[in-house]
């Protein structure tokens, strides 16, 4: 189970609304490399993962991704609070506004709604951990791009925190991969799938 802590993992205090920034940052909620996909990927991969330390990594990183989803939601919420219709029209946020007003909805920057097809749970330890490492790098690149697109330091600050967490998570998944490989046949990592085949 989970227990909600009534705080953000990292503070968000944005003084100046900016609908154009919100329109691209929303992609880290519901986009292909966003936090919703990340949390669902790790928290679902856990069940069939045979190694205790890797179960721990998937549980703890998956949980932290939920906290990141909340941070991104807070950023988008504060960026769109108190906007005038003129600002909404001028910024291009009108295409989001027409469907969601200023409610928070998980979608990619280009408007595609969140879909579970952004993530995989393959039931094979090596395959899943490689996916996870790639996912962390893809999310890191997305934060790099967002930081390039935004110039408000109040927005950049939490984005930099989130970017840095992707780097740390990549490191932990790299260590998890080492555990997986150490448990497999050292001459052939692909001799059997530890999540399905009987271990020989």
């Amino acid at each position: 189970m989970w227990v909600y802590e009534k705080k953000l993992e990292y503070p968000v205090n944005i003084k100046i609304p900016n609908a154009a920034a919100a329109k691209v940052i929303i992609t880290q909620m519901g986009g292909p490399d966003g936090e919703l996909a990340a949390s669902m990927r790790y928290l679902n991969q856990r069940f069939s993962m045979p190694y205790s330390d890797v179960k721990g990594v998937l549980t703890d990183i998956g949980t932290e991704e939920l906290a990141h989803l909340e941070i991104v939601g807070a950023i988008v919420y504060q960026l769109t609070k108190g906007l005038s219709i003129e600002e909404i029209k001028r910024s291009g946020f009108d295409t989001y506004f027409v469907d969601h007003t200023t409610g928070i909805y998980p979608q990619a920057a280009a408007g595609v709604p969140f879909t579970a097809s952004y993530l995989q749970s393959k039931g094979d330890a090596i395959t899943d951990i490689f996916e996870d490492m790639a996912a962390e790098q893809k999310a890191r690149t997305t934060y790099d791009n967002l930081i390039r697109l935004v110039d408000d330091p109040d927005v950049i600050d939490p984005l930099k925190f989130l970017r840095e967490r992707e780097v740390v998570h990549f490191q932990r998944f790299g260590e998890a991969l080492r555990t997986v490989q150490e448990n497999l046949n050292p001459k052939n990592f692909y001799a059997y799938n530890p999540e399905f085949d009987r271990v020989r």
């Binding site: 227990v3 802590e5 009534k6 503070p11 939601g73 932990r172 555990t179």
Partner: protein
């Protein structure tokens, strides 16, 4: 309310230290330095959280101390601007 925000920042910092140590310990479960770091920050986190909850209300649904009021629902919620 600036005091609350400052106190919350201390909770966030203490929490983060514990979470980061926990993640490292997942893949280094016998690392002495990491275990010592975890223990020190676990104690600091508990002290900081207890102090925050006493002054500003519950951080989790398990932390409501008032016998006359359900403080859990009090504003601000985390996504709202701090003063």
């Amino acid at each position: 309310m600036a005091d609350r925000a400052n106190m919350l920042r201390r909770v966030q910092a203490a929490d983060f230290a514990v979470e980061e140590a926990a993640l490292f310990l997942d893949t280094h479960p016998k690392n002495d330095k990491a275990l010592a770091y975890y223990k020190a920050h676990q104690a600091l986190r508990k002290k900081t959280v207890d102090e925050y909850e006493r002054l500003y209300g519950p951080l989790t649904v398990f932390g409501n101390e008032s016998q006359t009021e359900w403080k859990w629902i009090d504003s601000p919620w985390p996504w709202e601007m701090e003063d």
